[in-house]
């Protein structure tokens, strides 16, 4: 009798675990495209002549990255994330890496989580200073000469933080510090995908550094893919 109870409990445990795993690995997806309407301002050329070490790394002219567009009116560097409906996630163990190369920030927008390790690397032969202009989190400013170790830090509150280098005034980036792991940044095709969403009602926010924020509500009921698109109004300046 006892053996039977144990084996039934064990079987139930296995089924329960499998169901849990299935729920985590599966789930629905929200995906779509980010585009713009209207005429965006032309990207302005960047003059790097005061930093010849960086200027010579660029074979094509370098332009500002405030508005980056792709073919078919797609809008790049838009952070698409779940702003409501999902629980906060504990941060992943991999750091989010922010690189300085050719006197530009790579990526232009870095999305990572609250308390996730941030790693800032200087791959240039010139000094940069990292100055994330946080208003909700702490503002700090550190010098990073070439050949020095990466700067490691983290943020404990969600915020969109502009980042600049004071030595090279054209360098601008953003840290998007988010509460959960459901985020994506639109690429050249304007596409984004937020997978692994359990059933529920979600608020999806799309953020662009010049064109502002937009939200949409999406309900996921199983493991389907729901498509939503964001269209931003381009500013002529």
């Amino acid at each position: 009798m006892r053996a039977k109870v144990i084996s039934v409990t064990a079987a139930l445990a296995v089924i329960f675990a499998a169901a849990l795993l299935h729920a985590r690995a599966g789930g629905g997806t929200i995906s779509g495209k980010v585009t713009y309407e209207g005429t965006p301002a032309k990207p302005k050329p960047i003059d790097m002549s005061k930093e010849p070490g960086c200027a010579k790394q660029h074979t094509t002219p370098v332009t500002t990255e405030t508005v980056v567009t792709g073919p078919n009116n797609t809008l790049e560097n838009v952070v698409v994330y779940i702003s409501a409906g999902a629980p906060d996630d504990s941060p992943p163990s991999e750091p989010a890496t922010f690189d300085q190369k050719g006197c530009q920030y790579i990526p232009h927008v870095l999305a990572f989580q609250v308390n996730q390790q941030l790693k800032v690397v200087n791959d240039d032969q010139t000094s940069h200073n990292i100055h994330p202009l946080a208003k909700v989190n702490r503002e700090w400013n550190k010098s990073q000469p070439p050949g020095t170790p990466p700067i490691i830090d983290k943020y404990d509150k969600p915020e969109f933080i502009p980042v600049k280098c004071n030595v090279h005034p054209w360098m601008h980036g953003t840290f998007a510090v988010l509460k959960n792991s459901h985020h994506a940044i639109s690429g050249e095709d304007g596409g984004f995908s937020l997978p692994n969403l359990p059933a529920g009602k979600y608020t999806v926010t799309a953020w662009h550094e010049s064109y502002g924020e937009q939200t949409q509500e999406v309900t996921i009921s199983g493991s389907e893919t729901k498509t939503i698109n964001f269209v931003f109004k381009a500013k002529p300046y």
Partner: protein, 298 residues
Amino acid sequence: MRKMNTRSMRVFLAVAVILLLPAALPAQNMESHIGKLTGHANTGKQLYFRYCWGCHGFRGDGGGENWLPTGNYPTEPYMNIQPRNFDAAVFKCRSTPTGTLPLDQDLYNSVGRGFVMTNMPSWITLTNQQRADLVAFIKSFSPRFKNEKAGDPINVPAEPKLTVESIKHGQELFQKLECWKCHGPEGRGDGPSASTLTDSNDQPIRPYNFAVGSRFKCGVTNHDLYKIFMTGLDGTPMPSFADVIKPEEAWDLVHFLRTLQVTHKSPELALWESTKEGAEQIASRRVYGTPTGSGIKQ
């Protein structure tokens, strides 16, 4: 609805006042501790509204009438440099690492010393106790002072003996760490990036010009100068070099920087002038004008 009788009404009011009173007085119990002094925010409040609020504003956000007069007409700010915004809790002059809160002693020193080349005067005319009370009240503007502890003050080793080698090594550091990019090769605040600098509120800001002064924003001594570049001036383009300069080397940089202050008779400048290399370097500097990037090997 049945009317409350007088006794219940009194009890209700008493309970309401007791519960709501802490909310009405945000941080009037904030204290400051400087040496043996203890400052109290409720006393500091009276002083603030007598001496400080004209520039720093009644909200402590640097938006006082002396900075930007209110009115029905558009107007320019009266001052070049905006008064400190205490809400943000970002301070230039600290003994603590970048991104951390200053010590009470740091704020106390700033109030007493004032900020050279700005509209912030020295308040040494107030008593020590008054300044301590003001520090306590200033801390009550930002919730950060309630929720966070001040940073750990940086370790400043004892200043080593002044030698020519120290000055020469400091010169190498000035070159290697690219201080000249903003401060210029002679420290005149005319480096290639100097004209593009903005502070954290996007206001234009100039780097320190060593050639015209003897005092810094955050003090006058070598110890003060050490702390400036080892903690950074938060809220400005000046970063912290604490992670990239060893503490012993930092003193070499201090000694070299003093030789850039050509109008200030310091032991460092005197020693440097007595050497052949130093004398040639000082003689070759122009008295006026701003050579930009000249003579620096890339």
